[in-house]
Amino acid sequence: MIRVVLPYHLRTLANTDAEVRVDVAGPVTQRSILDALEARYPMLRGTIRDQVTQRRRPMLRFYACEEDLSLEPPDALLPEAVASGAEPFWIIGAIAGG
């Protein structure tokens, strides 16, 4: 079970707590986590990745194990601690605007 921490506005949109859990079949990567997240919460499609390009939206970042993984390739394997559920995968909104 993969743990994912959502930013505030995505929690309200998906009507969830801060942390959600999703099952990922196969390698645990940014893409496979987001695919599983969007399958469980379809209202989040387009809010994290662009609908067409599937690229991370510019003002969101991905963190895990105190590392910024935002610029890692979407199919790169994530740390074992994320895959095992020991550590969550964080989706964080940029601190910007007002």
């Binding site: 930013p7 505030y8 506005h9 995505l10 309200t12 949109l13 998906a14 009507n15 969007e38 399958a39 469980r40 919460y41 379809p42 209202m43 499609r45 387009g46 809010t47 994290i48 662009d50 609908q51 067409v52 939206r57 003002m59 969101l60 909104g93 940029a94 910007a96 605007g97």
Partner: protein
């Protein structure tokens, strides 16, 4: 007794204001979608409890929300919480926040490019929905005006959206963004001819279709814009808003960047009716519900100073279809006021004593229950108001 329901979109959420026909005591609900920008909400005239809302964020993009109970509850069409994304047949479920521009069937690449600020060509990039316009005959059909400028239509209650891409054939490569972006902000439906629509884009101008959206014609003859290389160009004008009376769909009133304009031939030609206005820069323009020659504007100081002139919040009314204007000030602040009223932030009810509503960038929503003679605030301290739409309910 009739009621009114006022749908208010703000920088930080939506609010719904309801009152009886006297329009003196108000119930306020909200914020709905707290913290999100709500560019526009609008209800279906066929089913007034069917509401559509554009919810967006610089972080999280575009969401479409729908209510089927007059705003008590909302959902994203086709994607209830926790529902599987695939149907039992393996088909992907509807994706109500997916706005994808048409591509060339030959190359798979986006259709056309538009003019960027520096004069180079730039690809179309979806940013947000500025305006939602429900069909006059079918609550499941709704149009969306978006940035970068294009017109989308849904025929399944907002679940799926498809571009009416023929619009971009109307010299799309010459369109360019205004300071606020290149948005399609005005959609007018002709109640006497379902195949005719008018739309307006900043900064491209006004366009008309006579075949339900397949083909479009620029309708900007008579507009004069000194800030563009060719002041009388066929496209490129910064039209801010257009209004019409439903009984006379061939008569259009326009608030351009500067200038109040009028057309009596469905937009084929325009002439200026700014008349005695102290300034003719502004955003909203609306027509009285029962008097097709009575129109309202809220001029602001200039293109460089987006607030009302002289610290006075004044609505101007013309009862002569333009040229002769009177300032309406009773109940509105007449000193130290420096707000603006945005293009979709004015609306008209259809009660016998016609009500006028507008919201300001300072968070006030005002009502006049007597066609503008006197005004009162409904609320004073909302976030900046982006849009105001009123529904007249039985």
């Amino acid at each position: 007794m009739s009621k009114v329901r006022v749908l208010v979109g703000t920088r930080k959420g939506a609010f719904i204001l309801t009152s009886d026909g006297k329009r003196q005591k108000w119930d306020i609900s909200g914020p709905h979608f707290a913290g999100w920008e709500i560019y526009h909400l609008k209800g279906s005239s066929v089913d007034p409890n069917r509401l559509y809302a554009s919810q967006s964020s610089g972080w999280f993009g575009q969401i479409i929300q729908r209510s089927d109970d007059g705003g008590k509850t909302w959902h994203q069409p086709g994607t209830p919480a926790g529902a599987p994304m695939m149907t039992p047949e393996g088909m992907p479920k509807a994706e109500s926040n997916k706005f994808v521009y048409d591509t060339s069937p030959e190359t798979g690449k986006p259709l056309t490019t538009h003019q960027w600020y520096d004069g180079t060509q730039h690809p179309w990039e979806f940013k947000r929905v500025w305006h939602l316009e429900p069909s006059l005959s079918d609550p499941e059909t709704v149009y969306a005006g978006v940035e970068d400028a294009a017109l989308f239509r849904s025929t399944d209650g907002g679940k799926n959206w498809h571009e009416l891409a023929g619009l971009r054939d109307a010299h799309g490569s010459k369109w360019s963004p205004g300071a606020g972006g290149m948005g399609l902000h005005t959609i007018l439906l002709d109640s006497t001819n379902p195949r005719r629509l008018y739309i307006a884009i900043s900064a491209a101008g006004a366009f008309r279709t006579e075949d339900g959206g397949k083909t479009w014609k620029p309708i900007n003859r008579g507009l004069h814009s000194q800030y563009i290389p060719n002041p009388t160009a066929e496209v490129g004008h910064c039209v801010h808003h257009i209004a019409m009376h439903r009984s006379r769909p061939h008569v259009l009133f326009m608030q351009k960047h500067w200038d109040i304009m009028r057309s009596d031939d469905a937009g084929d030609s325009w002439h200026e009716v700014s008349g005695n206005l102290p300034t003719d820069f502004g955003f909203p323009i609306e027509v009285h519900a029962h008097e097709p020659e009575t129109i309202y504007v809220v001029p602001i100081k200039s293109d460089s100073e987006h607030y009302v002139a002289d610290g006075k919040l004044r609505v101007f009314r013309s009862r002569t279809g333009g040229n002769e204007w009177e300032a309406l000030t009773k109940g509105l602040p007449q000193e130290n006021c420096y707000v603006n009223v945005l293009r979709d932030a004015m609306s008209i009810d259809t009660l016998d004593k016609c009500g006028i509503y507008f919201g300001t960038t300072g968070g006030q929503v005002y009502v006049s229950a007597d066609s503008g003679d006197s005004w009162a605030p409904i609320v004073r301290d909302l976030p900046a108001v982006l849009s105001v739409e009123v529904q007249t309910l039985p």
